[in-house]
């Protein structure tokens, strides 16, 4: 984040400072509550003065989020949070800007703005509440709904393959890409914090249960019996170990993934290790392609974390450059530029 945002005096903010006087209007049991709670926990740890936070959202259940934060908040229109936020951050790079969005908001109507935000690498933290359904409009399928899903608008099952948001973010150039889940608050908080601390477009997909219209969509990642085999926690520098008893390891043989046993006795010799900072497109895309694939566990954590110039920094630098070249803007000089003549 911009230097000016780092206050050397320790700020003594707590989560209560971020709690607005608006009572959340989500359904009881909705996964959104968990994300809200962790966000409030994480913000005080960033060392940024409260007034610098701006939460921008689109439309959807998830997009009500800004009302529940006692920060500057802009609840906008469906799909367009990314562009509003881009304008806010470009106009005032000193603000810490979040985009809160849903799978429909970000990937259906807002798909174009999403990929262009990632491409520009504007320093914005984008949190996608992916419940694989349209919540607010009462249960139509979304671009992340599994193929064949029966919903209000697909009573006979959908025909479209879903998007993989993590892969879309990577293909379009986001410099930080992560995934987490509402029901693992520690991991969620960690991801939110790392994303918020990243400078550049940071994209976090949060698997979020909509207990009204898509209950249990992510149960295999949260239920005790299935969790172990389905969740792959990626840790930087570590092999891809998973399993209820941490007894399996995912390995890449140069051509495809293999799962092998991982026990004290039997450890693979040179297991692939996770390195989100390598810029190795192959590995990033490979890992991301394990989504929706039931043979393999689904990766959680950071897929990519790269240091790259942000759009707004480049813009500010360009402005400085032009000022040096042409001198700071002088209005009279500008108005009189070009061929002019005097009438006396």
């Amino acid at each position: 984040m911009a230097n000016s945002m780092i206050n050397t005096e320790p700020l003594k903010l707590t989560k209560d400072d971020f709690t607005s006087d608006q009572e959340p209007r989500w359904c009881p049991g909705c996964g959104d509550y968990s994300i809200l709670a962790q966000m409030k926990k994480v913000l005080p740890e960033l060392g940024i003065p409260k007034e610098k936070f701006v939460f921008v959202s689109g439309i959807g259940c998830s997009s009500r989020f800004p009302y529940y934060m006692d920060t500057y908040g802009f609840h906008s229109i469906h799909g367009r949070a990314a562009v509003l936020a881009s304008g806010v951050k470009t106009a005032n790079p000193d603000l810490k800007v979040f985009v809160i969005t849903g799978d429909g908001d970000a990937l259906s109507i807002g798909g174009n703005h999403f990929i262009h935000l990632c491409r520009r690498n504007i320093d914005i933290t984008m949190v996608l509440f992916n419940n694989r359904i349209y919540g607010l409009t009462k249960g139509q399928y979304s671009p992340t709904s599994e193929k064949g899903k029966k919903t209000k608008s697909s009573p006979w099952g959908t025909l479209e393959a879903p998007f993989n948001p993590v892969q879309m973010a990577m293909a379009s150039g986001a410099s930080f890409v992560g995934r987490t889940i509402d029901r693992d608050p520690k991991h969620l908080a960690d991801m939110l914090k790392r994303a918020a601390e990243h400078k550049g477009t940071a994209f976090v997909e949060v698997y979020q249960n909509c207990n009204i219209f898509n209950d249990g969509a992510f149960a295999q990642y949260t239920e005790q019996e299935t969790k172990g085999d389905h969740v792959l926690q990626m840790e930087e520098g570590q092999p891809f170990i998973f399993g209820k008893n941490k007894d399996k390891v995912l390995n890449w043989n140069g051509d495809h993934f293999e799962i092998s046993a991982f026990t004290a006795e039997k450890k693979p010799e040179n297991p692939a290790r996770h390195n989100p900072r390598s810029g190795n497109a192959a590995m990033e895309f490979l890992l991301s392609s394990l989504t929706y694939d039931d043979q393999f566990p689904t990766p959680f954590g950071v897929f990519r974390q790269l240091e790259q110039d942000t759009f707004e920094d480049l813009l500010v630098r360009q402005i400085e450059f032009v000022k040096q070249r042409k001198g700071p803007g002088d209005l009279n000089k500008l108005l009189q530029s070009g061929d002019s003549w005097m009438v006396e």
Binding site: S20, V83, T90, L95, K323, G329, W341
Partner: protein, 612 residues
């Protein structure tokens, strides 16, 4: 050297026409600058095809540039050119009909070979039959003469041939007693790094001049005296340049950074181009992925405290309407510029039209009032823009500025204001965090009090759902009714402070003309001519600057005339508002031909009204 005479003229219209590749826009631009520096008043009308470089010689590839200049005030580029410079048969074919009777045609006769004649769908060479009778025709071997002049140049034949527009320009400079100085220094500047080209273009220009001077076929040159202009510094300016400058000026005078969110579209792109040059004025241009992102980023910037602007044309305007609703609902200052073009849909993208007025006034879901201002001429775009910015900040509202293809690309002399002479633009934010309510209003302006994010103690929410004063979402029926009426009243109340348009001509009487936007010049010229005839009819004219809200004095004027005529380049849009508002049986004069209204057509229409 043949003896030649010089004739004084009050007013001349000349049109340059050739292939898109012939450099006609450049030629016209140079002629314009020289004419302006010579002290004439003038207006220009470029007219180029939608294709970038249509195949050489084709009818649809013809590019034209027209300029009217005079020792008297000029308000249109002229209905009928007095002089046509035609670089090939297609250019002649396309433009001949417009030429006035007995007009002058300078023709590049070298271009009239079989292939070009065929492309222009001429069955016979018009230079060889009497189809050009009734005109003064000057066929000149421009290509050959240019090659001859450049025979020592090291340029390739193709490059040499590209200089022939300067040869033609040179001829016209002689013909209108213009100095070559401005163009000469422009050439030196432009091709600074390519001495070959400097040399060749200067030679071609001079050769054209000398040729006209020495050849027998040109017997007369003309002189147009200086026009009276208020003393001051002047420059030529197109509408789009004036908008760009108006925005930068408003940014300076409001102490704001300028943010432009825009997606390229003809004929609005030049504003983006111009602004993107001026980073040293703290101009942040953001080329967005589409028009929605253009207005969306601008609205974000408005929220964050910039002077925020989005620029576009018709189809792009259509895409922005959802966001305009959000701008109305969040009550943030935002200037939306629509350079209208021929519609509907893609329509005639490089042509002019005034058919987006009702869209500007009504084209949103729900009751979403937005002030609408229209510029009247290229130079007027500067102050219209400045005013739009002022009002956006004054009432924290989006403001729509309408221009159109004609004044956007057309140019006229503009008296350059000094920075100091421009008014400061006041921008106010709430300052008391105690009980700050984002939708509490200034009782005077009814504007809500905005606070910039980053200001400690004012954290609050805005958004597209209906809110109560505190900024909390409210579904209370009476709150919604109240808020809808407040938003409307805020805009209507502006009529109290906006300058009232003046009435030209009679203040009561037979016919009141009401108009808006780029028809200003045509109407001015038509009325000038009619009033010069010393008619006994009493004619008044009000040209609207703000269309929403309507000016307060209009009702009164309307009631004082027997008839009302509303000329527009659409099927009748302002007239709908006028009729509804004042219940007057106004008549429209409407031509939707992708062109400015023709003065003579308008004169006829006015005469018709006066008769009936």
């Amino acid at each position: 050297m043949a003896k030649k005479e010089t004739q004084k003229l009050e007013r001349v219209t000349i049109r340059f026409a050739g292939d898109s590749g012939d450099g006609m826009q450049l030629t016209g631009g140079q002629f314009t600058n020289t004419t302006a520096l010579a002290g004439s008043d003038l207006i220009t009308l470029p007219d180029y095809p939608a294709e970038i470089r249509a195949p050489a010689g084709t009818l649809f590839g013809v590019s034209g540039f027209q300029i009217q200049f005079s020792s008297q005030p000029v308000h249109t580029p002229g209905d009928m050119p007095d002089v046509l410079v035609a670089m090939n048969p297609a250019a002649l074919k396309v433009n001949l009909a417009a030429l006035r009777h007995n007009g002058i045609i300078i023709i590049n006769s070298d271009a009239f070979q079989v292939k070009n004649l065929k492309l222009a769908a001429y069955e016979e060479n018009p230079l060889e039959n009497d189809s050009l009778k009734g005109y003064q025709v000057f066929p000149v071997q421009i290509t050959e003469l240019t090659r001859e002049a450049l025979k020592d140049s090291s340029l390739s034949m193709k490059e040499k041939d590209r200089c022939k527009n300067f040869f033609a320009l040179g001829m016209t400079y002689w013909m209108f007693s213009h100095s070559m100085e401005t163009t000469e220094s422009w050439i030196k500047d432009k091709f600074a790094s390519k001495p070959d080209l400097i040399d060749a273009n200067l030679k071609a220009l001079n050769a054209g001049y000398s040729y006209a001077l020495s050849t027998e076929i040109f017997t007369t040159s003309y002189e147009v005296a200086k026009a009276y202009k208020e003393p001051g510094m002047y420059r030529n300016i197109t509408g789009n340049e004036a908008i760009a400058l108006g925005l930068i000026a408003a940014a300076h005078k409001s102490g704001k950074e300028l943010f432009l969110g825009s997606y390229p579209i003809t004929p609005a792109s030049d504003i983006l181009h111009e602004l993107s040059k001026h980073r040293n004025h703290n101009v942040k241009t953001f080329q967005a992925e589409d028009e929605i992102a253009g207005i969306g980023t601008a609205l974000g910037a408005a929220y964050a405290g910039s002077l925020a602007v989005t620029t576009t044309s018709g189809p792009g305007m259509a895409l922005k309407t959802e966001f305009m609703g959000l701008a109305v609902m969040t009550e943030l200052p935002l200037v939306i510029v629509n350079i209208q073009r021929g519609g509907p849909s893609t329509g005639l993208p490089t042509k002019t039209e005034q058919a987006d007025l009702l869209q500007a006034v009504y084209g949103r879901n729900g009751e979403a009032p937005i002030p609408v201002i229209a510029a009247a001429s290229p130079a007027d775009c500067f102050m219209a823009t400045f005013e739009a910015c002022e009002i956006a900040f004054r009432v924290n509202s989006p403001v729509i500025l309408l221009s159109d293809g004609y004044i956007a690309n057309g140019a006229e002399p503009w008296k350059i204001p000094t920075a100091e002479s421009l008014p400061e633009i006041k921008v106010e934010y709430a300052t008391n965090p105690e009980n700050y309510e984002p939708y509490k209003r200034d009782p005077q302006t009814l504007s809500r009090l905005h606070v910039l994010p980053g200001t400690p103690g004012f954290e609050h929410h805005v958004g597209g759902l209906e809110k109560d004063d505190s900024g909390n979402v409210s579904y209370v029926p009476d709150n919604h009714d109240r808020m809808i009426r407040l938003r409307e009243a805020k805009i209507q109340k502006l009529a109290d402070v906006l300058p009232q348009p003046e009435i030209f001509g009679a203040k009561e009487g037979d016919l009141l003309i009401i108009s808006w936007g780029s028809t200003y010049g045509t109407i001015y010229t038509a009325l000038d001519e009619i009033l010069n005839r010393k008619t006994n009819k009493k004619i008044g004219w009000i040209h609207l600057r703000w269309i929403n809200p309507l000016p307060k004095n209009l009702a009164d004027y309307v009631s004082k005339f027997k008839k009302v005529l509303v000329p527009e380049i659409n099927l009748g849009q302002l007239i709908k508002i006028i009729r509804s508002e004042y219940l007057v049986d106004a008549k429209g004069f409407n031509k939707v031909r992708g062109l400015p209204l023709s003065t003579s057509d308008l004169i006829n229409a006015i005469d018709e009204e006066l008769k009936g």
